[in-house]
Structure formats: structure tokens, C-alpha cells
């Protein structure tokens, strides 16, 4: 296969993988308002666990790792996702109830740094700084895939996984559960006053988001066959935030657009640019700065993203307003729209469809 097509399919893989990662962070940050600066840590756990359960037992491989169960494709991925959720459960139980947004963000970023440090130093866990490698290509033996045909095949598998996860996520965001998430994001106190157990919903959101992170991470290690600590420095979390903010907070389709823009233009474009003589890595640094600048420009001029969050209007809202004798003020900013519609919808609908 020509190198060009090889590259295109790699891009397609990363596009859909970032889409999955962005959906996971979006339900935490975009829908529920949890500023998870440790997101890449959950991705890494998913990746390591997926790799470790698909590798054979570690004796004789020259690597040190736990597990080593030689599990086949969909099962290892799901175990990776569940492992990330388990970490989220542990973190959320300690921190979510006690801390407000910015302290939570501080503790979470600390968590991702410590996790990084721990995995780097404790070699027996996931082979330390070298990371896991030679992870078997999933289903390669079943379909008799060569190294060349594996890339397009797995890009397709990832796209299929992404579409399934997209379907599930759109079900969640449209459900009363998703509506409660958004109400908590807009004003946790109002949601609590309306009888919503804020902690329980935030916990749910963390678990779902971490599961998506784990799946996304698991796909990365299966695609590339290796994963190590250089792949998940805390700055990577920022790239996923950039995908969400550029694409549109709280909009699943926007995330795909964001993933396309950020991932393809800013991360893979440098591969086509000529190196600056004498400074082989300069392009990469400038590129990372550009992502930061792009995000700030986006936040300032178009905080709602390329594709803004859809204004969700409950059909009951009009009847509610009429019966109340109040005028419906049409708000302009997405966040005030959500407050108006979601609180109203909560008052009217949730008792019916949640009980």
C-alpha cells in the first residue's frame, strides 16, 4: 500500500479516536461541568490495561507487566474502559464531594502527574518508562491481516466503535440523565435545591467519561502496538480540551469537527512541513503553542465553539410559561439558555420520566 494511503488511514484512526476521547471529556466537562485536568491519566490507564490484558504472560517477553491474559479484541478493550472507570470511582469518591471546581482541578492535575510518575518509576506495573510494546494486533490472525492491511482495517474498526459510542452518548445526553447533568453544570445549587443528588450525578458522569477515555486509550495501544509515558504528558489533556472548545462544548457533532480541525490540522500538519535546519524539533514546539493560541482565540471570539450547543426546548416550556402568565425571554448565550430550559424542564418533566 502506498505510503500516502497508509498516512490517510492513520489520520482517520486518530480522528475517530480523538472523537471518542472528546466525547468522554465532554460529558464530564461540557455536560456536567467537572474540570477534569487529569483526563489523559484515565486514557493512559485504559491504554495500559488494554495492552496488559491482551499481551501474553510477561515471562520471557523481556517486559515486566501485570496481568498478561492474552484476551481477544473486544474484551480487552472493555476491560481497559472499566479499569479507567474504576480509577475514576476511586478519585471521585475522595474528591468530588469535598472540593469546588478549581480545587478539584488542582487535585486532578496532581493525580495525573503522580500517576505518570508512579508508572514511570514502578517498573513492575507497566514496564516503567519503556512502556508496553509488541501488543498483538487485534483480529489480525482471524482475518489474516498483514501489517499493511491492518491499518485500514483497524481505522474502520475504530470508526465503528466511535459510531456506537456516539449513538450511546446521544442517548445519554438526550435523556433526563443528560438534562440533569446540564442543570448541574449551569448551577449545581439550583439542581440540588430541586432535589437532584448532585454528587451522585457527578459521579455517574465521571464514570461514563472515564469509560470513554479508557476505550479511546485502549484503541491507541492496539493500533500502534505500544504505549509509554512519553505519550501522555499532562499537556495532552489540553489537546482534548482544545478539541471540545474548538468544536463546541456540549455538542457531539461539534466534537467530530473539533477533532478534525485540531487533530488533523495542528498535530499532523507539521509532518508535512519542512524542518527548520538545525532545529529539528522546533516545528513541534511552535505547533503546541499554536494549539494554545488557537484555543484562547476561540474562547474569546467564539466561546460556544464551531458548532454551538443546540438549544434544547422542552415542548412543555411554552405551556409552562403561559400558565404562569410570564413572558418567555429568549436568552442569547448558551449557558443562560440551558438554565432557563433545563430548570423548567426539570421542574416539569423529570418526576414523570425518571421515576
Amino acid at each position: 500500500m502506498p505510503a500516502f494511503w497508509y498516512y490517510v488511514f492513520t489520520l482517520i484512526f486518530f480522528l475517530f479516536d480523538y472523537f471518542i476521547l472528546a466525547m468522554g471529556l465532554n460529558i464530564q466537562y461540557g455536560e456536567t461541568g467537572i474540570l477534569n485536568f487529569a483526563y489523559i491519566g484515565f486514557v493512559a490507564i485504559g491504554s495500559y490495561v488494554t495492552g496488559a490484558v491482551s499481551l501474553p504472560s510477561s515471562a520471557g517477553t523481556g517486559q515486566q507487566y501485570i496481568l498478561g491474559l492474552s484476551l481477544p479484541f473486544p474484551i480487552n478493550l472493555i476491560i481497559g474502559g472499566l479499569a479507567a472507570s474504576a480509577l475514576a470511582l476511586f478519585v471521585a469518591l475522595i474528591t468530588l464531594r469535598r472540593l469546588r471546581t478549581d480545587y478539584l482541578a488542582m487535585v486532578l492535575i496532581s493525580l495525573s502527574l503522580v500517576l505518570w510518575d508512579l508508572i514511570n518509576n514502578y517498573v513492575r506495573l507497566f514496564n516503567g518508562a519503556d512502556g508496553l510494546y509488541n501488543v498483538p494486533e487485534p483480529m489480525a490472525s482471524v482475518f489474516k491481516l498483514t501489517t499493511n492491511s491492518f491499518v485500514p482495517f483497524f481505522a474502520g474498526v475504530t470508526a465503528a466503535v466511535a459510531l456506537i459510542l456516539w449513538f450511546l452518548m446521544s442517548r445519554i445526553t438526550r435523556s433526563p440523565l443528560g438534562r440533569t447533568f446540564r442543570a448541574i453544570r449551569d448551577d449545581a445549587d439550583v439542581a440540588a435545591a430541586l432535589g437532584k443528588g448532585v454528587f451522585r450525578y457527578q459521579l455517574t458522569s465521571m464514570l461514563i467519561g472515564a469509560f470513554y477515555a479508557g476505550i479511546g486509550g485502549g484503541l491507541i495501544i492496539q493500533f500502534g502496538g505500544s504505549f509509554n509515558t512519553s505519550a501522555w504528558l499532562p499537556g495532552e489533556t489540553f489537546v482534548i480540551f482544545a478539541v471540545i472548545i474548538v468544536g463546541g462544548v456540549g455538542n457531539n457533532l461539534g466534537l467530530l469537527v473539533g477533532a478534525l480541525l485540531v487533530e488533523t490540522l495542528l498535530i499532523h500538519l507539521p509532518a508535512f512541513l519542512p524542518d527548520i535546519p538545525g532545529h529539528p524539533e522546533l516545528i513541534q514546539y511552535i505547533d503546541a503553542m499554536l494549539i494554545g493560541i488557537l484555543l484562547m482565540v476561540m474562547l474569546w471570539f467564539r466561546p460556544q465553539g464551531m458548532i454551538p450547543e443546540r438549544v434544547r426546548r422542552s415542548p412543555l416550556l411554552s405551556t409552562f410559561s403561559k400558565s404562569d402568565g410570564q413572558q418567555v425571554v429568549v436568552p442569547t448565550s448558551p449557558s443562560s439558555v440551558m438554565t432557563a430550559t433545563d430548570s423548567a424542564a426539570l421542574r416539569n418533566v423529570d418526576e414523570k420520566d425518571e421515576s
Partner: protein, 292 residues
């Protein structure tokens, strides 16, 4: 036991650096009410400014270069506040936005450092010191100077907060910005001065870290930031004196544990202390009521 006292000495050095950094972060947090996630990179940048003055341009003595580097970082922090963070904080009510901007700023500064100075480890141009035996401790003269700088800075910050008009205004703003504004305090001016102090302390902390470690790297932006957070949270977020105490506690705990367990798990010890604090005293050991 000798090993314990040795580690205690190193702990005091780490605590000195940490205290400068933690107080700088706490000052700014108390005034603007959002965490600066680029603070570790402010430290790294300050250290590189000192490096530039020390080894690249003027070839100053490292202690003079350190003053210059710190002040440069202070001025840069004022510019960051004026053109970037301030406008974002005023425009958006939710702290989300400005937190993400500081996170992004951290990425930009880190990569700017890599672009300008490269990824290689640098070292300050200073004399190689004999190790001094002082009681049970083994310290270099530079480490003693760093400890002295830290103690003097803590005293200065204390005197500024308690005796000057500026410090009084800062404490008032930290308690209640709106009330301070209605009492005639020029909050913009105080905010600018606070950023200058915070940036200067960050630059100073980064530079003395470089001096005590013997090398300059962009690492403070990543791993050291977390240790500062641990100190600040353990001491109680927003409390200056809590930050000092937290710094001493975390500094001693990490170095003493390093003497008895594997030194690569220093950070994990700090994290365990952080988690224990959150579990049993979520507002920190020296919390002020109504925060966190």
C-alpha cells in the same frame, strides 16, 4: 538517626524553595480567586531568565542574576494579567474559562522555553561548593543562602501584609473584593501589584530551585507544580501562613521519606499527604472559615 538528620536538612532546603513558590501562588489566588495553572511554568521561565543573565548575556553573578530574573518574571506576569488573564476573568463569570486559559498559557510557556533554550539541561555558572558540616546537617553554602533568602522573603511578605497599606488592601480584597472596592480600594491596581509579586516570587522560587538542584530544566512546570499544589492545599487554599506551613510539612515529608524508601517515590508521598488531608481536613490544616 544520622540519616534522618541529613534528610531533615535537605527537607529544609526543599521547604525553603517550596515556601517561596507556595506563598506566591497563594497571594495571587487570594486576590483573583482562581488558580494559576501556569505557575510552575512561571517558575521555569524565571529560572531561565536568571540563566540568561547569568550565562548568556551579562554574565552576572548568579545571585544578582537571580534578582534580575525574578523581576523580569514579575513584569511578565503583570503583562499576562493585563492582556490575557484579566480580560478573560472579567468577561466570563464562570472560573472555567480563565482556568483553561491558564492551562493553555502553561502549554505555551513550556513550549516557548523549549523553542528558545532547547530540551537540554542547563546549569548556572557558579562555583562548585564544598559541603559544610553544620551540626548533623550536610549543606552547601548556596543551600544555606537559599534558606536565608526564603526566611527573609517570608518575613517581608508577613510585614507587607500586616503593616503596610498595600498589605491591608490585599487582605481586604482577599476577604471580599466587592466590599474592598466600595471602601475605595483601587482593586485593579492591587491586582496588578499582586501579579507582580506572584510572578517575582515564582521567578525567585524557580531560580533558587535551579541553584539548589544544580541544573535548570522546564520540569517545574510539570512535576514541581504538583508539589506546590500539595503544599497549598495541605495548608489551606488562600491562606498565606497555611501555605508556609504546608511547604515546610511537604518539604520535610518528601525528603525524609526519600531517605528511608526509594527516592523516586518522593512525589507519591506528597500525594498521599494531600489525599489524607482531603479525607480528614478537606479545608486544609490551617483553613480559614468559608473557603474551599
Amino acid at each position: 538517626m544520622a540519616q534522618f538528620w541529613l534528610a531533615f536538612g535537605f527537607g529544609l532546603v526543599t521547604a525553603s524553595v517550596l515556601a517561596i513558590a507556595a506563598v506566591g501562588l497563594s497571594l495571587q489566588f487570594g486576590i483573583t480567586n482562581y488558580i494559576n495553572f501556569a505557575y510552575g511554568d512561571f517558575m521555569a521561565l524565571g529560572a531561565y531568565f536568571t540563566y540568561a543573565l547569568n550565562s548568556e548575556f551579562l554574565h552576572l553573578n548568579v545571585w544578582i542574576a537571580l534578582v534580575g530574573g525574578s523581576l523580569c518574571m514579575g513584569l511578565l506576569a503583570v503583562l499576562f494579567n493585563h492582556f490575557l488573564l484579566g480580560p478573560f476573568a472579567r468577561r466570563f463569570n464562570k472560573t472555567f474559562y480563565v482556568l483553561i486559559v491558564t492551562f493553555g498559557l502553561s502549554l505555551i510557556i513550556l513550549n516557548a522555553i523549549y523553542s528558545i533554550w532547547g530540551a537540554n539541561v542547563r546549569a548556572y555558572n557558579m562555583k562548585i561548593e564544598q559541603v559544610l558540616h553544620i551540626g548533623p546537617f550536610l549543606l552547601t553554602r548556596n543551600q544555606l543562602i537559599v534558606m536565608a533568602i526564603s526566611v527573609v522573603m517570608m518575613l517581608l511578605v508577613h510585614l507587607m501584609l500586616k503593616t503596610t497599606r498595600l498589605g491591608k488592601s490585599m487582605r481586604a480584597m482577599s476577604d471580599n473584593t466587592t466590599l474592598a472596592m466600595t471602601s475605595g480600594i483601587d482593586t485593579r491596581r492591587i491586582t496588578t501589584i499582586t501579579w507582580f509579586l506572584s510572578g517575582t516570587l515564582a521567578g525567585l522560587a524557580g531560580s533558587v530551585l535551579g541553584i539548589t538542584e544544580g541544573n535548570v530544566t522546564p520540569a517545574p512546570g510539570e512535576l514541581f507544580l504538583f508539589v506546590i499544589f500539595a503544599a497549598v492545599i495541605v495548608g489551606g487554599v488562600g491562606s498565606i501562613y497555611g501555605a508556609m506551613a504546608g511547604a515546610v510539612l511537604i518539604g520535610l515529608a518528601t525528603e525524609i521519606s526519600a531517605a528511608f524508601f526509594n527516592a523516586s517515590y518522593k512525589l507519591d508521598v506528597a500525594f498521599v499527604i494531600l489525599i489524607l488531608t482531603l479525607l480528614f481536613r478537606p479545608n486544609g490544616l490551617f483553613a480559614r472559615p468559608g473557603r474551599a
